[in-house]
Amino acid sequence: MKKLVKGLFVAVLFCAISAAVFAGGEQEAVTGVTEDEITIGTFQAMSGPVASIGVPVANGLKAYFNHVNANGGIYGRKINLIIADDQFNPGKTTVEVKRLVESDGVFAMVAGLGTPGNLAVMDYLNESGVPFVYQASGSSRLAVPPKEFVFPVQPNYLVEGNVMVRYLAEEKKAKRIAIVYRNAEDGIEEYESVKNAIKLYDSKLVEAIAIDPTATDFATEINKLNAAKPDAIIVMLFNPQTPPFVKQAKQYGITKPTFLLSYPNAAVTFMVLAEEAAEDVECMSWVDVDFTDADFEPFQIYAETHGEGEIPNAFAVAGMVAAELFVEALNVAGPTLTRDSLVKALESFKDWNGALGKGISYKTYNEADNTCRLGKQSMYVLKVKEGVWVRHADWIYYAD
């Protein structure tokens, strides 16, 4: 009996080892690309506290790719998008991205959401040679130092901080500037950038307050802010925190200074949550979209998938920008698609303008050139007028 068990055991072990050895044997010509399909992946917080961003980004991606597929795909290939839910938990992102690359065999990654998750997987993707186009994150570490297969699009927070100060100092003539920022990597990055940029001007940073990313009550912080008497306040907070912050600040009597929000807040959600406190608040933006124009073509594309009259919010638009850019790159890469040809195609972009994304450039990869993977470097300003975002100032560029 014992012998039998042992024998069986050895047999199983043998099978297992041979399976392991031969499993990787057969390789496709190009991973994720067949005659009629291109498989790509993305990771989004489809559940959990950040799902309010992840779900619209995914919706934007889906809408655009559906549209492309409905119109015959790209060189006859349909795009198959796999969305992995990482709940904004980088531990999960790592596993999910590995699963996409190794198990699902995706050709490329598009539009991963979140600074932590993107930072956690960028090196892995780069080393695996999987093109990673568009990160929904403003961290400068995605672009600097450059990574051959990682293509950021959004302006990073270094850029934003700089642009914000330039705008406030030059256009608004603000002398006393305050900043409140998320006490996290992204917030600190922007704070450092603001601190450096302000030296270029005749203005002063009168107060800098770090805010716990989980806080819901800002009374103490506002109290301090009030004491500093600023002319303008840079608010580097994200969705669940920005509206109550602005609301409470106004309640506590800070009505005069300009509130200038970071670009992730440029969405209708802000207006809905902040209600009348939203009025006159300004916000950075990098996607040039008039949300009141329902006939705008990308909105039509969005409505095809999500129903008549549905208008994408800023996050959905971000998803669509990513998809737009990626599809364009596929088109440029031509019918014989490889990862290298995709990279080449992207590197050929010079101040490219799509329907949504504008002014996007890359250069040929050179590890010494910190500007070869920068994507976009200019922004403009929106302002709330009677409950809608209205374009308020024109493109502003990074100031050295």
Binding site: A215, T216, Q251, V272
Partner: protein, 293 residues
């Protein structure tokens, strides 16, 4: 000045912590279960209130619905889950409530999603501003309302427990369950009632903070931790200890935020609980260190 303003800011916040702790202490004292699902039970009902609000547009109706559903939820928890396990160990009850905590969170995610939902403030308008020379002290109207409601609710429940027949019966049941049975008090009914009231209070707290935190599945997480802290600080043995504990906590928190750093607010508060528990588990206002442990 900062001290005064911090204290003024701390009061409404503390009143909510106190109310939360009051609900937890009420259930714990009367029934003997420390309810770790207290916050999330309230959260689910706040979502219900929110749904009613979006459907009807009436704030009063939605709040009423939320509180009534909260009461029913409390009764259901008692009848369906706590009833069969009253004989179980404390660890068993603890785990059941932890399980509930997760189920409520998941259910809210499933039904209402993870978006932040807006719930209107009950009182709007210019905040109260007091000028003291150069400086001014500010108290928003809604915070004023929060404080008033918290105080009113505690007083109402205090009166109920002191004078109503069922209220006295609730206290009697807490002090001697067998004594309560022999005089013909339906202890099961009293337990359900206590659960109902307890959860209703949690719903009320949820509705009061909703304008600040917005409605979402994690809205009551920290609130519950503060509720426990308030209870520990004031002593679970006395209901009003919880209210006082909450107020102390609220003010302390704002002072820490103002003078040390907002980053350390929660940690310091929590370390206070541990020290408090180690040094005087009966709390600042508890009479004796024994009792239900």
């Amino acid at each position: 000045m900062l001290v005064l303003q911090s204290i003024i800011l701390g009061i409404p916040q503390g009143a909510l912590y106190g109310l939360m702790g009051f609900g937890i202490a009420l259930i714990f004292r009367s029934v003997g279960t420390m309810n770790f699902a207290h916050g999330n039970a309230g959260m689910v009902c706040v979502f219900v209130a929110f749904s009613v609000f979006t459907a009807t547009g009436s704030i009063i109706l939605s709040i009423l619905c939320g509180i009534i559903v909260g009461f029913l939820l409390g009764v259901i928890i008692d009848k369906a889950l706590m009833g069969p396990i009253k004989h179980l160990s404390h660890a068993g009850m603890l785990m059941i409530t932890l399980g509930l905590l997760m189920i409520f969170e998941g259910a809210a995610q499933l039904i209402w999603g993870t978006d932040y939902q807006q719930f209107p403030e009950l009182l709007r308008g210019e905040p109260l501003i007091m000028r003291l020379g150069e400086n001014k002290l500010i108290m928003p109207l809604n915070d004023l309302l929060i404080t008033a409601v918290a105080v009113a609710v505690s007083i109402i429940i205090a009166l109920y427990l002191k004078y109503a027949k069922l209220g006295i019966a609730t206290r009697a049941r807490a002090q001697d369950p067998i004594g309560a049975k022999v005089v013909g008090i339906d202890t099961n009914m009293v337990d359900s009632l206590v659960w109902g009231i307890g959860i209703s209070i949690s719903v009320l707290v949820g509705i009061l903070i909703a304008p600040k935190t917005y409605i979402h599945p994690g809205m009551m997480g920290n609130m519950q931790i503060y509720g426990f802290t308030a209870g520990v600080l004031g002593g679970f043995e006395s209901l009003f200890g919880a209210i006082a504990g909450g107020l102390i906590l609220g003010i302390l928190e704002k002072l820490v935020g103002a003078y040390i750093s907002p980053d350390y607010q929660l940690s310091i508060v929590l370390i206070i609980i541990i020290i408090m528990l180690a040094v005087k588990p009966s709390g600042l206002f508890g009479k004796k260190s024994s009792g239900r442990v």
